[in-house]
Structure formats: C-alpha cells, structure tokens
C-alpha cells in the first residue's frame, strides 16, 4: 500500500512538472488562440484558464499516440469552440472589433491587429485552420488536430491564406 502511494505521488509530481513545462512552452500560442476566439479581455483570460484546466485534466490520459503539440491543439480548440459558443449564448452582442485597439497588451502593432481581426471574422472551422497554420503546424498535424483529410485541409487553407494575406495588403501599400 505504501509503495503504491509513493509511486502514485511520484507520478503526480512528474505530471505537475510536465504540465508546467507544457504551459510555459505554449502560453504565447494559447493566448493568441484565445484572442482569435474572443474579443473581450476578461473572456480571453477565462478561456485561457479553461484550456489550462482541460489540459491538466487530460494530461494523465495522454499516451503519445499523437505528438504533444498536436494533442495540445486538439484540447485547446475543442475547449475554445465549446467556450466561445457558450459566450455567444450569454452575450449575443459582442463589442465591436475597433474597441480592441484600446486594450493594452492585447496586440502589438497595427499589422498584428489587422491579422487578428481577419482571423476573428473567419467562420469557426476556417478560424481553426488559420490558427493552426499561423502557429506553424504542418498539413499532417492539421489533419491530426481537425480530423479532416489532408487534401481537404490544403484546399480550405489555401482560401483562408488568401483571405488573410488580403487583410494585410492595404497596410503594406500605405507603407
């Protein structure tokens, strides 16, 4: 019984360490994901915590069948979709996107803000693809996260990239 407890507690300790490393490594990416799903700063913070909580709960079940990054994005997107749907029900009238520019620490630079606005305006599934692409996931990884075929991902992603690139063009012209 004593051995079992020691093994149990040492496993928990190693999970805690792994969890902290995981969160530190992906905190920036997860914050960007939250910003793409929600416009309100407090909601983003809540979503970040929801994702962190889901990761904490799901970590003991992670069996390395998928890469750590793929697994993390699966959990994050699944939680974000559920959470943003719940927020929409509670608050049908979201604040206009222009308000975001006044929030400190949300975005850095006009171009990033434009890109963020373009991502926010995408339909849910295109938004997921855009976020996975922007975070540098490969086509194979995107297929693993979303569950749709690589060909389908490629076709849809091509359209999404064009749309996002178009959102940056006016800024480049002004420069």
């Amino acid at each position: 019984m004593r051995d079992y407890l020691i093994v149990g507690s040492s496993r928990q300790a190693s999970l805690d360490v792994r969890y902290q490393q995981l969160l530190e490594a992906y905190a920036s990416a997860l914050r960007r994901l939250c910003a793409a799903y929600l416009t309100d700063q407090a909601d983003r913070q809540d979503l970040f915590q929801e994702i962190a909580l889901a990761l904490w709960k799901a970590l003991p079940r992670y069996r390395r069948e998928a890469s750590e990054r793929t697994w993390l994005y699966r959990v994050a997107h699944n939680v974000a979709l559920t959470y943003s749907g719940r927020r929409r029900r509670k608050d049908r009238l979201e604040r206009p996107l222009e308000e975001m520019a006044t929030e400190p620490g949300v975005t850095e630079g006009q171009r990033h803000r434009e890109l963020l606005e373009a991502v926010q305006q995408l339909p849910s599934f295109d938004k997921q693809l855009a976020l996975l692409y922007l975070e540098g996931l490969t086509g194979r990884e995107m297929e693993d996260v979303t569950g749709i075929s690589a060909n389908n991902v490629a076709v849809r992603l091509s359209r999404v990239r064009q749309r996002l690139a178009a959102s940056l063009r006016p800024k480049e012209v002004r420069r």
């Binding site: 998928a66 699966r74 699944n78 076709v155």
Partner: protein, 201 residues
C-alpha cells in the same frame, strides 16, 4: 519565440508579434488547480446530497415496510425503498460512464461527434426518468397514501392523493423532459452546426 515555433511566412511572422505573457503562467497554474479542486468538490457535494437523501429515506421506507401490518403498505414501502436506492445506483453509474465519453484530446471532428453522443445519451436518460423512476416512486407512494385517504369509504376522498400524484408526475416530466432536455438540445444544435461546418465539402 518558443522552441516549438518554426519560422514561417510573413503571415506567421506577423501573427507571432503578440507578447507571450509568460510571467503569469505560475499564477494560471495555481488558479487552474484551485478551479479543479473546487469543481471536484462541487461534484462530490452534489453526489453526497443525493446519497444522503437515499440514506435517509431508504432505511425509513424499509423499516416502514417491515413494520407495516397490511400487505399493500408493505409492498408500497418496498417499492419506494427499491426505487430510491436504484435511482442512486443508476445515476452514479450513468455519470461515471458519461465522464469518460468525450475526450478533449481527440481530433476536433471526433470530439464533436463524441459530444453529440453524450448529448443524445443525456436526452435519453432525462426522458427515461419519468418511466423508471417517477412511475415506480409514485406507484409506491400511491399504495401507501391511497388506503389512508379512502378509510371513510367515500370515493371523493381520493381527490387529494390523485391530485398529489398527478402534480408530482407533471413536475418531474416538466423538469426533465422540457427544461433539462431543452437545455441539452440547444447545446446539441450548436455542436451539430459546427460539425456540419467541419464536414462541409
């Protein structure tokens, strides 16, 4: 830039201009662990309340069944006892199974399919309560209550227990089939729309 972030095209470079917010990771972990604990506490508390109710009612109705001097009372109290205990067991088993159904680590498509299954199971469960729980419960209660009100031999004295039984049944039906099922259906519809969007093309 973190080690896992590979260099990409211009869009990716612009996207990663966002500051990291690394300094509050430790605080987030603390908040998450507190949230996790409080969630577990809520679940335990809800379960405890249900089990305590069964613990309080179960022995009483069982004792009443043993002490009752007429067969109709004995059977009525026995049905109440079995229903209360079985209700607890079924609820516990159901929630135990439900917790393991939707895996957030699955692909987005698979997770949302699993969510649909969870919602369908929940709807089936809620709609079945009026049969497997309410009917035996009210049958047992009727067997105990009806003879008390009909001692006078006047059939009009039945109005009170009949009204009581009907009201309880209607309340249970409304609570489960209308209110709770409605909530689950709204969630299900959202997931269904999202899944349609994922599977489009």
């Amino acid at each position: 830039m973190n080690s896992h972030e590979s260099p990409g095209d211009e869009l990716q470079a612009v996207w990663r201009q966002n500051p990291a917010g690394k300094e509050d990771v430790a605080m987030t972990i603390r908040l998450v662990q507190e949230k996790g604990r409080s969630f577990q506490d809520v679940v335990r508390e809800q379960n405890r309340a249900g089990y305590l109710l069964a613990l309080a009612l179960g022995p009483l109705t069982a004792l009443a069944a043993w002490k009752a001097n007429a067969a109709i009372f004995q059977i009525g109290y026995l049905i109440l006892t079995v229903t209360v205990v079985a209700g607890c067991v079924v609820t516990w088993l159901y929630h135990r199974k439900e917790r393991s159904l939707a895996d957030t680590g699955a692909s987005v498509r698979e997770y949302h399919r699993q969510l649909l299954e969870v919602y369908d199971r929940r709807i089936r469960f809620l709609k079945s309560v009026k049969f497997w729980y309410a009917i035996p419960l009210l049958t047992g209660a009727s067997m105990v209550l009806f003879p008390i009100w009909t001692r006078s031999g006047n059939p009009w004295d039945l109005w009170m227990p009949v009204t009581l039984v009907v009201l309880v049944w209607v309340w249970m039906w409304h609570f489960n089939d209308v209110r709770n099922v409605g909530q689950v259906r709204r969630k299900r519809q959202e997931v269904e729309e999202l899944l349609a969007q994922i599977e489009h093309e």
